[in-house]
Symmetry: D2
């Protein structure tokens, strides 16, 4: 065919398949959201509508990609997690990341007007997101990744809550507030909030303190005595799972509801009650 | 800080910097557009509004990323090209690809209602795109890449035009039309169009036959006697360009208008008259 | 300095760090050993001196690189295994592989005359080896890799033993022997050996049937009731191990003797009695 | 076959094919040669026998791999260069690098006794080498790489010659000589050599000042007026060269003698007179 003279350029495409049997985390981040949040006048330190919009878009991503087993969001970032036995797009890095970034963006833009009816989008201030994939070799490290993000959420939220309270309620300049907070530890910030403003940080909304975790809802299980974790017990020889098995599991996942939760994901309890997240095997649908 | 116990997970992020001094092409593709074009009743074989929407979104991408020097679109795909001396995002693969995919998606969704006022978007049928970056080591190969896409456009459009004319005007079934076209060459298809339907393929719209090329408009130049191409003449030691130089060039690029063209990009003429595309040096702004 | 004009070429070097917390296997293979073994008249189906030379070179590699925790050899290949917490050369792929390939080659060439005193090396027939690194995310898969090589050893050795017995003792042509063996299973080959030649395959030397496993010798331990495997129990945050700790462990490893063994490494027993291999923690030196 | 249960581990091997149409440079370096050169009492600042041994081993590598078009060596390092149209081992990074490192090591060890008859090798002091591959997108940058190494050779040799003359002839301590040379430029070092020791640096051996360049010898050509460089003129669609063509070219290359030269490779002259190096097309064999 006439095309063939140029087709050799395809040979420059390089494979980017992610290592088998590892957790894949795709984390997306808002691009230039500092400027954007000013432009659309997001509330400080947290804008509930903006977070709800992030969560709404993320739920749609979870629905469209049943291979995702959990997601965690805070501020303008969201981490989407594929199980080690995931075979979606043959585990091609670029395909996985761009699909998530694009799907998320589409829903974020589409749903904007529902969450910000009085602040219509106006180019050139259209929100967009970048993203990356990182792989983690076992459950422990995947959980440490999730903990890292939730600790980050806590640290940033405590800081931001204190800072903006000092500025908005205390009438301090940004610079003065920043200066005073330099070098303080958590206890100091709690004290500033409580003593000066009568605010008990513990009473802040869970969505601000814990961020948002999304997962498919099955019947909760009683934690069992610890046993060898799934990825050691039996090698998940995923490439040998038949396509029909994979399709069946995908259908089961689609049936489960995606829930929006704001709970501790650092301690064991969350994971022990929801063993389907780490095992990758769908649980029992609630009656 | 309390965070540090988990921060080690950052060490699992792997670098993905693209080889210096090579052309970077980011090609994006519509996900599941076959189904989508049915759902929103795109016209066959070409839907002008859909193409115009693709082009509108691509123009916005060009405007937001002045480092882009040319882009080429056909059907539901678009290729965006960064010059070998581009340093944007330190040439990180994931960052470049996801930024383009997300920005494109945002504008595509945002502009949809302007181009399809009578067909509002409705989840779960939200358009989205995936993408990939490929690098090409020299001008010749970059041009062969562009030629490859334009030849592909021609081949597909001739096929689709003939096929849909046979079906829509000739009343053939899809299967019969497909069967008859099997093994035909260009001349055969031209003849079918002309003899049976009185259609001269040459008179079809250029946007359908040639696809769309986007670039920044400077004053056209007279082709000069061939000389050593830019990437050989002087090694573009891009990392040694100062930031202020890069910023200056970026500003010059922002001033140029992004034009939408439907012309041959396979022959030399296009490139010789617009030397700024391959050289990476902004030309003279039109009066 | 005058040098700087050209130094930008260093920016083309790309990082190749292997994912943290994964097993690294470097497998090397003899290049063109089929031809080479003819030239130096290796005995068929196994040449004991050639295997002993392979093992001698591999022992030297183990001694020079205390980070190696186990190695397995068969025919003209050898697999060297680094523990998930290995930080040698910052886990750079190229550095790890070339160091092993070169060190192995050096000792192989140097020791040749000791094992083949009557067959001096003569260029252009100098032995050389290529190699590659592969990473495995957990203990189970690492053990499956090792099992894969040992099963391969068994399959090939049974075939070769039968083939060469048919040729050398049975007077068959290579082609006839090959033809007869086509499609046979293990039992068939055992029967041919036993019925036609009175050979009980089980009595063949262990080094031929099992290949060679190298490891550092500490006091064997009694298998304990299964517990959570090391890589789950505590995340090996290797980058946080201090240099001095790493150096101390390295010294302990150097003190242990490297043993040459020909035993089953597929079953659990081998690994349970030598827990230091999978844990990465040196055991107790024998009195 | 019984093997299949474990064979899935092969899926963890990741491709490492180098970008097509780019120069491949494999640079190898002696491991721990500082200590090694002390142990075997290499002469300071240059040991002629050690350099001759490096060159002898490198010549053998060039002979064994006709795909190599040029090599450059200095001190204990050697750079081997494959042409952009090289298809050897499908351009697999690991295979190319380990083959060169191992072949070089084999010949270095094998030839040692010829160059150092009075200093037999003795483990654990066996020489070994590590290596890496780097790709360069065009002729200009490849030449800049070569220039970088030769400038490095010059800078180091001038320093070392001055330093060791001050120590060995001038009776200075290492520390004092190092101290005095700190911050000096080339002219200063030339003056120290000339004024204090009557040494004209220009009269030093070319092998020390220029390093060693290896290439296949064809009839020298007269430099032609500059024309578009090979990699632009015609896209080298290497994958479309037939195997038989590649084999033919390989045979032609084997016939050419590999010469050992110590000349300037920074200026154009070297490359213009030997156009076969950059073009990849064998020249005319000398009568």
């Amino acid at each position: 065919m006439a095309n063939s003279r140029f087709e050799y350029v395809k040979s420059f495409e390089q494979p980017d398949v992610l290592l088998p049997n590892t957790w894949i985390v795709v984390r997306i981040d808002g691009r230039g959201f500092h400027k954007l949040s000013d432009h659309y006048a997001f509330a400080k330190p947290n804008d509930r509508r903006a977070l709800d919009l992030m969560n709404a878009a993320a739920v749609e991503v979870m629905k469209e990609l049943p291979d995702l087993c959990i997601a965690y969001g805070v501020s303008d970032e969201f981490s989407f997690v594929f199980h080690p036995n995931c075979q979606l797009f043959e585990r091609r890095n670029g395909k996985l990341v761009t699909t998530i970034v694009s799907t998320f963006t589409a829903h974020y833009i589409y749903n904007w007007s529902e969450f910000f009816p009085e602040r219509p989008l106006l180019p050139p201030y259209l929100p967009s997101f970048d993203g990356r994939a990182v792989i983690y070799p076992n459950n422990r490290i995947l959980r440490d990744y999730m903990s890292w993000r939730q600790v980050d959420c806590h640290i940033n939220n405590l800081y931001n809550t204190t800072f903006w309270t000092m500025v908005l309620q205390g009438g301090m300049s940004n610079t003065d507030a920043e200066q005073e907070l330099k070098g303080t530890v958590s206890a100091d910030k709690n004290e500033i909030l409580f003593k000066r403003f009568g605010i008990n940080y513990n009473n802040e909304l869970e969505i601000y303190k814990k961020g948002t975790v999304l997962y498919r809802q099955y019947e909760l299980e009683e934690p069992k005595p610890t046993k060898a974790p799934a990825d050691e017990e039996s090698p998940v020889i995923e490439s040998q799972q038949s396509r029909s098995q994979q399709d069946k599991i995908r259908k089961l996942r689609r049936k489960a509801q995606v829930v929006i939760d704001h709970v501790d994901i650092i301690k064991d309890e969350f994971w022990e009650k929801r063993p389907w997240i780490l095992s990758g095997n769908p649980g029992k649908l609630p009656a």
